[in-house]
């Protein structure tokens, strides 16, 4: 069972080309995009490092929020109209033109609130990457890879072949540790 556990390596590169090279070598070594994470202090265009399409679910949140908000809006206005049923100008008790702005307001409120929650949710879960290094915020590019214990040497070789300035595991730097290259 020990060999099934995944461990993380983080390599730091000076140049974007080196980081792209590392991603390519990881792909060649059989690691897929779900195992690889790219960290940078500046947003690079998607796919610049050869990574796959990054998925997120943020766009689902406004739709869910809009539906909830509209439901609350309907409940608010229909409840108010039905609880005090006064016929105004011969129009129905619940007339669409008269309730449209409340529905719009409820829908927009729900969509905005859920979008904000969605951003927080998408940022919090999963909890980013385990390994990090402050040099990333100084402009170096980090390539993180999750590998099973038995595949760790393959990942290390792929990352090292792209000439990182440092290679980190949970235990610390592997570049200067005895027995590593």
């Amino acid at each position: 069972m020990q060999s099934q556990a995944k461990r993380e390596l983080l390599a730091l590169y000076e140049e974007p080309d080196q980081a792209a090279d590392a991603v390519e070598r990881l792909h060649s070594a059989g690691f897929d995009d779900n195992d690889i994470e790219i960290l940078s202090s500046t947003p690079y265009p998607e796919g610049a490092f050869g990574e796959g399409h990054t998925k997120h679910r943020l766009f689902a949140f406004p739709f869910a929020g809009a539906a909830c908000g509209m439901a609350v809006g309907i409940a608010w206005i229909v409840g108010a109209q039905v609880s005090l049923p006064i016929i105004t100008g011969g129009k129905p008790i619940v007339a669409v033109p008269a309730i449209i702005q409340i529905l719009y307001e409820g829908t927009l409120l729900g969509a905005v609130l859920f979008t904000v929650l969605g951003v927080l949710f998408e940022s919090r879960l999963p909890d980013g990457v385990g390994l990090y290094d402050d040099r990333i915020s100084e402009g170096y590019i980090g390539i993180s890879v999750m590998a099973r214990e038995r595949r760790l040497p393959d990942a290390q070789i792929a990352l090292e072949e792209a000439s990182p300035i440092d290679l980190l595991s949970k235990e610390g730097s592997l570049m200067h540790a005895p027995g590593t290259t």
Partner: protein, 449 residues
């Protein structure tokens, strides 16, 4: 080609260029003046609350200030959204300046509460609410404005997180809630993507909220208090002239930043003036288009109740503010902005912008003072034209103080959050290069998203 400022094309990625917040000090005469005006605004607001709660006419000029804030500070963040949506890299140094106006926009909510509390019952006067009694207009308008303000603040905060979070070790050391507030920022590809998506999604909601709030407030604080005034164009006129004034305010702020902030000033120049100047010219023409559409319809139909309302806001009662507004928002800007030389110079266009911002105050006076000061808001027509309600000394002090407070809050926000959007500017620098093309120079722009 109006070349971008050279500094914007040469930003360092390692170490990354990090913009700083404004360094302000009360020893600076301008900052001290703003602080004094802000203090005056707070004092005048408290005085109004104590002496005029529930007195609608007393809140007429504060309503002008409310609609001024809504049409300047609240509309400015739209520039950040629109330029992101259209991938306008010229606006990179302007985006944070525009978004920072979300902070002083919060003052509009402070004004809205006592103003809404002074409104008469809906029954017996024209309104949007069709007898809906569960919270309209107080709760509905306050809720709509709060949605807009919340969206603006979320846009400002999310776009500022990469500039504020600092190194990952700092974020990891934060408490749970603070870390959540900083979006657990480590700079993963996924986080960058979510951030970009959030900016676009919330920007779209901001635009929707902006239009909606204008529809509600122009009706509840304007048309529904002046019997006979019925216009479907008026809310749109307010929203569009608000965009005109929001652009003007952003250009004016950019010129001030260039003059007083050496760091931000390196990136601000004629490229922004040229690009935004064209939109400002179009918005200036829209002033006339919407005014004329509204005016012509009523002039031709000759319905006495509508003509009376037009006589109040345009032709007789408030003709003076109308003429001043028309000159400052249309005649002079149009006459100046048609010249390339004016449009393509940040200093010159800032002068035109200041005319528009001042003109907007007079424009809002002609629209909102008469309804708020009208003692007879019920019925379908006015029996006689109301006398003009000119501001007294307290009203003038209130307007000067509260508008000063708006700028003071902006400057304070800019002293906490960098006035430049560092991560977007670094990305822009990466994707924009000046190249030689035959005998000239051209800008090569990459637009990957």
């Amino acid at each position: 080609m109006i070349a971008p400022e050279a500094a914007g094309l040469k930003l360092s990625l390692r170490p990354p260029y990090r913009p700083q917040a404004l360094n302000i000090s009360l020893n600076h005469a301008g900052i001290a003046l703003l602080a004094a005006l802000g203090a005056l605004g707070v004092v005048m607001y408290v005085v109004k609350l104590i002496t005029a709660w529930g007195d609608r006419a007393e809140w007429a000029y504060p309503t002008v200030v409310l609609m001024f804030i809504l049409s300047t500070a609240t509309s400015a963040p739209l520039i950040a959204y629109a330029s992101r949506m259209a991938k306008g890299y010229w606006a990179l140094p302007l985006r944070r300046i525009a978004a920072l106006y979300a902070a002083p926009s919060l003052l509009s909510f402070v004004l809205l509460i006592p103003i809404m509390a002074s409104l008469p019952p809906l029954e017996g006067r024209s309104n949007l609410w069709f007898g809906f009694s569960a919270g309209a207009p107080f709760l509905t308008d306050a809720l709509a404005l709060s949605i807009l303000l919340l969206t603006g603040m979320a846009l400002l905060w999310f776009s500022a997180v990469p500039d504020l979070a600092g190194p990952p070790s700092r974020v990891r050391a934060m408490g749970r809630w603070q870390r959540l507030l900083y979006l657990n920022w480590t700079g993963t590809a996924r986080q960058w993507k979510v951030l970009r998506a959030a900016n676009l999604t919330l920007g779209a909601f901001y635009l929707m909220g902006y239009a909606f709030v204008h529809m509600l407030l122009t009706t509840d604080l304007g048309q529904s208090l002046l019997p006979g005034w019925r216009s479907g164009i008026f809310p749109v006129y307010n929203a569009v002239t608000g965009i005109q004034a929001g652009i003007a305010l952003t250009l004016l702020t950019a010129a001030v930043m260039r003059r007083f902030s050496p760091e931000a000033g390196r990136f601000l120049g004629d490229e922004q003036a040229s690009a935004l100047g064209k939109i400002l010219l179009a918005a200036t023409l829209m002033w006339f288009y919407f005014f004329w559409s509204d005016f012509l319809l009523i002039w031709y139909a000759r319905l006495p109740s509508e003509v009376a309302a037009m006589q109040v806001t345009v032709a007789i009662t408030y003709i003076l503010p109308f003429v001043v507004a028309a000159v400052l928002m249309l005649v002079l800007p149009l006459g100046l902005l048609i010249f390339n030389k004016v449009r393509q110079s940040l200093s010159l266009i800032a002068g035109v912008s200041s005319l528009i911002v001042v003109g907007l105050i007079f424009d809002r006076i002609r629209f909102y003072v008469a309804p708020m000061a009208n003692p007879e808001p019920f019925g379908h027509a006015m029996h006689e034209l109301p006398a003009p309600y000119w501001p007294n000394a307290l009203d003038i002090l209130f307007m000067i103080g509260f508008i000063g407070l708006m700028f003071a809050v902006f400057v304070y926000a800019a002293s906490r959050i960098p006035v430049l959007n560092g991560w977007e500017m670094r990305q822009g620098s990466m994707l924009r290069k000046e190249r030689t093309f035959m005998k000239t120079h051209v800008l090569v722009i990459g637009k990957p998203d």
